[in-house]
Amino acid sequence: MVVATQTKPSTEQIIHAHQRDVWRFLVALGCEAAEADDLTQETFLAVLRGKFEYRGEQETAAWLRRSAKNLFISSIRKRRRASLAPNLDDADADWAQYQAAMPEDERIAWLRECVTELAERVQLALKQRYEDGLSREEMATRLGMEPSAVRSLLERARQRLRECVERKQRRDER
């Protein structure tokens, strides 16, 4: 049993170690930031007040994600709204794989570097999309482009960012 060799961290350490991951997972599923705040708290309360037993970091993370996903589904049902994430069944497993490929903090840091390497117009488009929450149509008006061109621009931007992050990761591994 793995658990025999693990030193059980304190409750505070568990919360501190996993809360960001839970929050990001919820946002990736489609939560608004404020809702993710709430559900993150609810997740920890549900797990830590329940029958949780510490069995290592990875299992704790998986347990928390499962709870978070269930709370999210419950929240969707309560509000009778459509799910923003169609593949919810596999979402927690996919997230684990995604995080295994690269820790999220590292990915975000590299992404920030990579964003600065993009043309200013592309940076502006990303900002309008993800910070200002503009629709493609609104962006098209602001940027003087067709909505289809905005879509292509965003896709290309995401692809370039992916390549850039992967390049940085490879360089780092060397």
């Binding site: 593949n87 964003v115 940076q123 200002d132």
Partner: protein, 623 residues
């Protein structure tokens, strides 16, 4: 879209936005340590985490607070019956909830009326009627206080409330910062700062004649663009506590040295001065009571062509000088030109707590640098060349309260859209003196965005040709709402050959018609020639809203000079003012630079008072 694609998009969104996972450790721990919650109980600190609700509530508070001097907490957002929503733990706070209240070990808490008692050692904080921060141990250092302020900002606590609370009360084992109301700490009453002292009266001096008229007991004087040769003259006014001498010409060290004769000088702003080289601020060391200074970060002209290292050394030398001034307890505000952009980081690293910056000719890159000044509360961009990206950067400033823009070009709707996202913003000035008649300075779309910025308390629109001002265009309905939170609306109007009759759509005829177009409690009309006030006001201001008129309580107006007959003025004014049912006061002032050929503001006030006994009309030009 696959899950991985969705996750990647979320990562990109976090990287390019200000949305980051918050540290909720303290909240989760506090809830874990609390008794189990009933099924439908609302969650801890929920009231702090809904920026839209809270922004609306905060705006309401400020409206009341500014009227009464006491900021009221938004009761409608917090249920008194739910004690869990009456406190929130700061990051890393160590506490536990007991039957008798909260036992605080370390860190700090934000509490409001109905919060449980807080204990630490022999200290007891109780009977809170208002809002307070309780901190374990001794009074926080400046850095700790600043960190707490930042946390309060992040929690969307009202900016005005935070700014007003600066004094901690110390108990045996904890200390308290009262944001509003009263409480008891170790048996002693502690209360929030009373209504702030009345704002200092700044005497505007724009000419030698103004200087001649300056009262001997003047405490604050503001001069702009004048020769520094006048500073030794100003130094003759021994009671001066504040001097704003911006854009001063031909500065030398001896000019500043003359001000060391002023024993009470606390506030000195000499930004934008022409020095003919690196400014010499050594005289400031002799100003014993100096508390606030506005200084320039000097970058030689053509610096971009010079050796970068040499300029970095020059900046480093200036930073050392600034530090020596700051170490005496003087709070420094800075100005710089866009050529300083590459070096602003040096300044920020040396003074991370900078609250106020003033930048000339800022471009997008300058704005990008400025966006890193996380403590910035006030920002003035003179002759800004920033484009939309620049405003995107500015919109990232988390604590910005006052923003003043003097522009080369017309304000675009998209620019204002970005500014509208600064929830902490309370005051916005848009000044565009270079616009001529062929430009549309403030477009209807811009006005609509401005009208929707409910976080704003003060809005100032300054320009030369107000016939282009969309809110004065009688063809469209004013976008301002009577339920807005605007406390003060200011319009600056220079002399212009345009007559009111030329306003599109048969708009207002009289400056006082503005009360029907903007929903402010106070309207300020700056620097207007008396011809503006001669026309008759309209009862049916095109595009106006009578509901807005009900909000108006105070009018402050500056006039360069009055040459018309008193009788004509008195009749016009009484008629124009009688349309405002809640108007309480009208202040009549002489504009800086007025010729003063004929000035009979006092008799005008007396005449209008006679006709409108419920409205106090005062000539404040002599104060």
């Amino acid at each position: 879209m696959t899950n991985v694609e969705r996750f990647w998009e979320a990562s990109v969104a976090e990287a390019v936005s200000t949305r980051h996972p918050p540290d909720q450790s303290a909240e989760i721990l506090a809830r874990l340590n609390a008794p189990p919650e009933p099924a439908k109980r609302k969650r801890v600190v929920r009231w702090i985490r809904y920026p839209v609700e809270l922004a609306a509530a905060a705006a309401l508070i400020v409206a009341i607070g500014f009227a009464t001097g006491l900021i009221q907490w938004p009761e409608e957002t917090i249920e008194q019956s739910d004690p869990e929503r009456t406190w929130a733990a700061g990051p890393g706070a160590d506490l536990r909830e007991t039957e008798s209240g909260l036992q605080l070990e370390s860190g700090y808490l934000l509490l409001k009326t109905g919060a449980p008692d807080v204990r630490r050692g022999d200290s007891l904080f109780t009977n809170l009627e208002g809002v307070a921060v309780v901190c374990a141990g001794d009074m926080p250092s400046d850095e700790e206080h600043s960190a707490i302020q930042t946390w309060l900002h992040e929690r969307k606590v009202d900016e005005a409330m935070i700014a007003k609370a600066t004094r901690w009360a110390a108990g045996a084992a904890m200390c308290v910062l009262m944001l509003q109301g009263t409480a008891q700490l170790d048996g002693q009453e502690v209360k929030a700062a009373e209504k702030t002292a009345s704002a200092p009266v700044w005497h505007e001096v724009a000419s030698v004649m103004d200087l001649d008229r300056l009262p001997r007991d003047a405490k604050y004087v503001r001069m702009s663009g004048m020769s520094a040769e006048y500073l030794p003259v100003v130094a003759g006014f021994e009671r001066l506590e504040g001097i704003s001498f911006q854009y001063g010409k031909n500065f030398s060290a001896s000019h500043l040295d003359a001000l060391t004769r002023l024993p009470e000088l606390r506030n000195l702003d000499v930004r934008g001065g022409q020095w003919g080289g690196r400014p010499d601020y050594s005289a400031l060391a002799k100003m014993k009571k100096l508390q606030v200074a506005g200084l320039d970060l000097y970058i030689p002209s053509g610096a971009e062509d010079e050796d970068r290292e040499a300029v970095e050394r020059l900046v480093a030398e200036q930073v050392v000088d600034f530090r020596q001034i700051a170490e005496r307890g003087v709070k420094l505000n800075f100005s710089a030109s866009s050529s300083a952009s590459p070096y602003l980081q040096q300044l920020r690293e040396a003074f991370p707590e900078i609250h106020e910056m003033w930048v000339f000719n800022a471009d997008d890159d300058t704005c990008k640098q400025l966006s890193q000044f996380s403590q910035l509360r006030r920002l003035k961009l003179d002759w800004s060349k920033a484009g939309e990206l620049g405003y995107v950067y500015i919109s990232r400033l988390p604590a910005l309260v006052d923003l003043e823009l003097k522009l080369w070009e017309a304000m675009e709707e998209s620019y204002v859209h970005h500014l509208s996202k600064i929830k902490s913003l309370r005051s916005l000035v848009l000044d565009c003196v270079q616009i001529n008649q062929s430009h549309t300075y403030v477009r209807p779309g811009v006005i609509s965005v401005l009208a929707g910025m409910t976080q704003l308390e003060c809005l100032e629109l300054s320009q030369h040709y107000w016939t282009q001002l969309a809110i004065l265009d009688g063809r469209s309905k004013t976008p301002f709402s009577a339920s807005g939170n605007l406390q003060s609306f200011t319009i600056s109007v220079d002399e212009s050959p345009m007559a009111f009759e030329q306003i599109p759509g048969g708009g207002p005829r009289h400056p006082f018609d503005l009360g029907f177009l903007v929903g402010a409690k106070e309207i300020r009309i700056l620097s207007t020639g008396d011809r503006r006030f001669q026309g008759l006001a309209r009862d049916d201001v095109p595009g106006g809203n009578p509901e807005l008129a009900k909000r108006l309580e105070v009018i402050r107006t500056e006039i360069r000079d009055i040459r018309s007959s008193e009788e004509q003025w008195q009749a016009n004014w009484a008629g124009a003012l009688s349309r405002y049912p809640n108007l309480k006061r009208v202040e009549l002032d002489r504009a800086a630079g007025g010729t003063g050929l004929v000035w009979h503001g006092g008799s005008l006030a007396a005449g209008v008072n006679e006709k409108l006994p419920n409205v106090e009309v005062v000539d404040v030009s002599a104060r």
